[in-house]
Symmetry: D2
Subunit: 327 residues, 4 copies
């Protein structure tokens, strides 16, 4: 393969050190050509440690670099929209860190801008590409559990440690919501991948005594476009940690955890199979490979702006009344 996607990173911070930066280098048909960070010295440091030939202190310089084919926006959410629009304007494909943006309106603007510019937009919901969830998808596609009836999700956790470091995550002014938006969206995005889009959703959110403004508990039920039912409960103010999903069908069921390193389980009347599937060293690499493959015209990316905004909408419906002050 002689064609190569040459990436530039805007915001070469923590997440790019192990999870994504090396993945952009190691994916087949992909290379990391340039990095940018407002503190140019840190950009240079990153570039030298990772063997990247060019570095910048300003985003527009990186976007304008003719050696850069595609842009990876890895800054905090507040600047995602700005950089995505600038990249689109330059006609360059965009891969945005999650969450996609501060709210659904920004997401929509990004999708529209990329569509108008004729460039694809991808979002880093990398779990879609991990071996564990690929195995679940494979079982579903093979019909291992027959016709799918419902999925149920349980996610409960002990109260958040009330350290300054953690509390920003439940300050809606900074994070855009609470732990449900932060963590629940990963599960909802996986369900969108595995079972297709949700058609109808209802639910309630509450704060049951947690010392912060965001919700700590959400109950939801939904029906997918396929007719499959769903039921989920999220509570981040419980006595213990437990998190898993179960997809049930006419011939079997599949059990998996979104966050915990546990085996995925297939059960039928005749047998039960537990498979332990480790994550790759650079967790974004499988997803990035599908993005690169799509850009090279030889495949289809697993996570796009369109799929990501569907999850945002579901999460917003479940917490809408809570944030409308209707508590």
């Amino acid at each position: 393969m002689d064609k190569l996607i040459r990436w530039g990173i805007i915001g070469c911070g923590d997440v790019t050190e192990v999870k994504s930066g090396p993945a952009l280098q190691k994916a087949e048909g992909s290379s990391l050509t340039a990095v940018m960070r407002r503190n140019a010295a840190l950009a240079e440091d990153y570039a030298k440690r990772h063997g990247v030939s060019r570095w910048y202190g300003q985003a527009d310089q990186l976007i304008a670099d003719p050696e850069v084919d595609a842009i990876y926006v890895a800054t905090p959410p507040s600047s995602h929209k700005e950089y995505a629009l600038a990249a689109a304007k330059a006609g360059k494909p965009v891969y945005v860190e999650k969450p996609m943006a501060m709210n659904a309106a920004e997401c929509t603007a990004m999708i529209e801008a990329c569509k108008d510019a004729g460039v694809p937009l991808y979002v880093a919901f990398y779990r879609r590409g991990l071996p564990r969830f690929q195995q679940v998808k494979k079982w579903l596609d093979e019909g291992a559990i027959g016709d799918i009836r419902f999925v149920r999700t349980v996610h409960m956790a002990k109260p958040l440690a009330q350290t300054g470091e953690e509390m920003w995550r439940v300050n809606p002014a900074i994070s855009g919501g609470g732990l449900f938006l932060d963590l629940g969206s990963h599960t909802l995005d996986l369900l969108d991948y595995l079972l297709g889009p949700i058609r109808d959703v209802s639910g309630h959110a509450s704060n049951m005594g947690s010392p912060y403004a965001a919700e700590d508990t959400v109950s939801g039920e939904y029906v997918f476009e396929s007719g499959v039912h769903g039921s989920g409960i999220w509570c981040f103010n419980s006595y213990a940690d437990e998190e898993y999903n179960e997809i049930v069908g006419s011939k079997g069921s599949i059990w998996f955890s979104t966050f915990e390193e546990k085996p995925v389980v297939l059960r039928t009347a005749e047998q039960e199979q537990k498979r332990s599937l480790a994550h790759p060293p650079h967790v974004q690499q499988p997803l990035i490979q599908t993005v690169v493959d799509e850009l090279l015209g030889r495949g289809k990316a697993l996570s796009t702006g369109e799929s990501a905004i569907r999850t945002s909408r579901v999460a917003e419906i479940l917490t809408r009344a809570y944030y409308a002050g209707d508590r």
Copy 2:
């Protein structure tokens, strides 16, 4: 105690042989004085086998019998309203088999009539009195799991055997609904008992390929008046049977099955306790004892018309759209 409640049964059929009839005899302060069945010969047979001194072929005779203090309506649902109203008119307390009536309108009429006549109305949701669920209630009341956060319910089952005998249960014209109304109402009634009334509820019902008119799958989520959240999935078209509830709090959780003879489980950070609690020989006896105690002015009955109609309303909301043809 010299005061005694003397019961008359309208419809001394199967359910009264072991579950309730002997319970009316054995409860303290209670006796079974008369039985009625349209086939008077069968009424006589029942009376002689059970040592009951009087029997009738017509309900109005039994209701009018001055030796009968209270009426137990054990006929099929279609005649519950008629007999309950007649008993109320005669100024006699009523204990009605479940389901309470054919629909919420009938339930309301029964409640109103009893209220106007100044007689209490009870419904045979007997699980409330069973040792297993009394243990759950005790743990909750003692604060064993701290502040309650949510309850989740899973109820899935293999498809119904398609025998003539079973199919009436899923013919809404006869049974008033499907397996969710039949079985799910037991769980919803228990949750009403354990956690109080549900304040807000939403959900969806579907038939996912079952060869009958009723729904086979229901997903629901709800918030109780106490603020506790709830999430439930019912699917009677699955590859396997599984049924349980989990109530989760700030200090622990309680696990129990509504239908299966399994231990109830209390979990906290420090310990896990599984208790096997067998049902009494006459399963309605503990509930009937609370009814008798209330009638004798020394206690409070566990299941009334008011509690039963709450469960009917919740179940109806969850299946409303389905039966409105909005499938």
Copy 3:
């Protein structure tokens, strides 16, 4: 296949109704030609119900029948030796019900007689042929658990119901021993099949308060000729029933129950697999097929006099001191 083994049964009692009789008819290359029972009327009844053309009231008649190629001895243990020797004398292969005989001396005599007569001797340890244990054998042969390190056996049960019907099983004068000899020998025979002969064995037997003369508890440890270690505890005077074996190796482990209809389980670092494998309708059929195949010169029988006597010896060593009065 035109060659056919024509069987004659000595003692067509209960065990031959479903487990073995129909199996002799249905195995490929096998037919059931004649049956014998001292009560000739019952022999005739059996023959007519099962479509067998010839029946006898005396064993020597059946053994002498030129249409009978091979003899199945299904009488109580006390006459196994006598009939096996008579069949051997007639030059006919023998398939003997388990237990093989009353004691090791009788077993040895049977083996010697068959060897001298040049006829093979088989014993009905039919579990060796069942799909569940064949799966275990297959996993072991494939190296699924790597090099085998040890096997451990747990077999505990509630005290025997003290009815007349059951008590003969623990009367050594009748049964030759207690529940360990009766039940434990099935497990030991399976281990002989799966792991090869035991080389060295030691243990203790006790009666810990059971109202009968036989032992109720046995602890044993052993080393197989392969070097694999084994550890087993049997207690038929416990608070509960539990019975299973686990074979552990360098790469995984296999779990199976000798008696309970539970899935067999394969565990490795990467996965766990549970397989539910039902018994065939006539449980002896798979073993009988291997016997017939060997007689027809196209395979190897799974259970012989030589394998059965090995298990008898191990069981005798474990209980020797107990029965020597050295309690």
Copy 4:
């Protein structure tokens, strides 16, 4: 309580930093008065950090110190005997780290010397005093599982990491044996505490491919003086780690792990109870308290030279043939 036991430590190394040293200070009626280490500078450092007033570079100085009432020998096993005899000669009670000595002969010499000198001898098998095992003992003493029938032990582990650091543990010349002697003795000592002395024992030891001289696998069976049976398998060359004991009786069973921080479990026909009991910060403190209490004439120590030597003998019998070259 005005009486105080003043301890002196011989060999104030690692084990004394958290596990035992602070325990000698915190136990009621106990104080740590002096410490000794051949490198006197390190002894001084320890003394200053722990608030101990006196320190020495030579053991005889510490033993002779009139302010020291009792001696804790915390050196490597090779010098246990020498120091225990010196302390006994000085008429001072001795508390020896485990293993008690290099072999049974040394153990016997220590026991004899202490008996002759009229001083008590204790061994640091501290698990006997931990809350987890005290709970097991309490359940047994209360009759929670009825009459005890048997105990079974499973201890398997992945192969030892072959680093220089670890390999001395399986070099019999240094450690006196392999992992069974090192780890299995903790379980055997606990069983001696919970169930009393073992009366009769047999077993086999092997090395199944481990790259060291010691055994890696041991199978054993035993009968306690009480008549209780026992069965154990130890394999330190397995595909996984698993370790637990189960004591089974006529009314229930108790499950516990010797090494893993898992709940202890009580099962009966009616209930199952799992209790999580954390270790105290200084794990030797409960045992040391019983030693101090005995020295002050107000209690009985849980672990003595007599109990420790019983465990040594059992372990030696199980591995005798292996070390006799009879492999």
